[in-house]
Symmetry: C2
DNA sequence: AACAAGGTAACACAGTTGTGCTAAAAAGGA
DNA sequence: TCCTTTTTAGCACAACTGTGTTACCTTGTT
């Protein structure tokens, strides 16, 4: 009977407006009215889809990680293990404008989540994503090891943690100084790090 | 003639109140009045030392990096090059409560700085600190190389970037998951990374 | 054509925001 | 003692905040 609107799509549209506001003016500017204006609707309309602001915030944060997960999941594991590993890891890093935007927003949420310690779900969400990336690193290294591509005697768990830290660090650098840490440079550093772990 | 108050110390005191607010409730809660209450003064008093909020924000951000720099500068380069390098790098990472607090605040500022691109001085400040840490990595590696401790044929510039990314990544992990990325664990990973670069 | 439910916009309200302004307090030199 | 300068507190104002409520529009089924 009602006017048919894709509820989920609308929510994502609003969340993306939030992203733009956060990216342009910082999370401090992310008020209901600002976001509504950015999305091109009234504040009332936004509040229909998100009864309160916290819900909007956490939905928008969730959307960031969902987008990344979708992209990573869409990767087809073809080619040799090294190529596959590089493709996966690169996909998780902000190497183009779209992903850089997502990363900026993610950073803002992460900083906010540090504050809401104890209560908020934001903090748990950061944890989940963080663990997910570490597990991806572990999985990739393990499959490299299974292929015999890795040097023997490597402590896989340790190398996964090191790789994970490197990925996060490179991502930060790519976001902060995209002119210096260009996609090509970052890719090169990542590849060379993996070569470091290879069997001679 | 006037009441004598250490102007600089007062400003730092207020900035530290800002830190506590940012850490407890996020940067969104960092209003003049909130900070004044946290510091135990009236809003008017705070505004005497910081005419506007932006000035307070950037001073507080600057104070974070100044504190880190002070600590790093206070390190006495005694012992062998490896020990020295580890001491320096560890000092830049959030391995105790005080530094973890600083890092949380720094993260919030960094996220905010991403937004104020173009105009704000915050962004340049992030750049400066970022470059400073990279140069520290370069310097430390070079002195290791001069000692003959490093493997020959290493691209020092590349290794400095890799080390820098690792430091930043490990710092993030230490802040996000202090239970998993304990100081001991982080130190161990850092040491093992350096050993990777050592001459056989 | 009428209806009922989903969707939209607008207003109200109390609280908070940044900042400008003013008056009082504090404190050491004259 | 008074006086000058720094320091502090408080008020005022317009703008903005999150959220509650209400009335209206839109739409597909009956």
């Amino acid at each position: 009977m009602p006017k048919i609107v894709d509820h989920a799509a609308r929510r994502e549209e609003i969340a993306e407006a939030l992203w733009r506001v956060v990216r342009r003016d910082g999370i401090r500017a992310a008020s209901v009215r600002t976001i509504a204006a950015e999305a091109g609707w009234s504040a009332g309309a936004v509040r229909y889809y998100f009864p309160d602001q916290d819900g909007l915030l956490s939905f928008a944060m969730d959307l960031v990680s969902r987008r990344v997960t979708e992209r990573v999941s869409a990767i087809e594991p073809k080619g040799n293990a090294t190529t596959i590993a590089l493709r996966y890891l690169e996909e998780a890093m902000p190497l183009d404008a779209e992903r850089r935007a997502e990363f900026d927003v993610w950073m803002a949420f992460m900083a906010q989540a540090r504050a809401e310690s104890g209560a908020g779900g934001l903090h748990e969400h950061v944890d989940t994503v963080h663990n997910g990336l570490r597990e991806l690193c572990e999985t990739l290294l393990r499959s490299l090891a299974d292929d015999g591509a890795l040097d023997d005697g490597l402590d896989l768990r340790r190398e996964a943690e090191r790789l994970h830290a490197l990925i996060d660090g490179l991502s930060l650098h790519a976001a902060i100084q995209p002119d210096r840490s260009t996609p090509a440079r970052v890719r090169q550093l990542l590849r060379q790090h993996l070569e470091t772990l290879m069997a001679p």
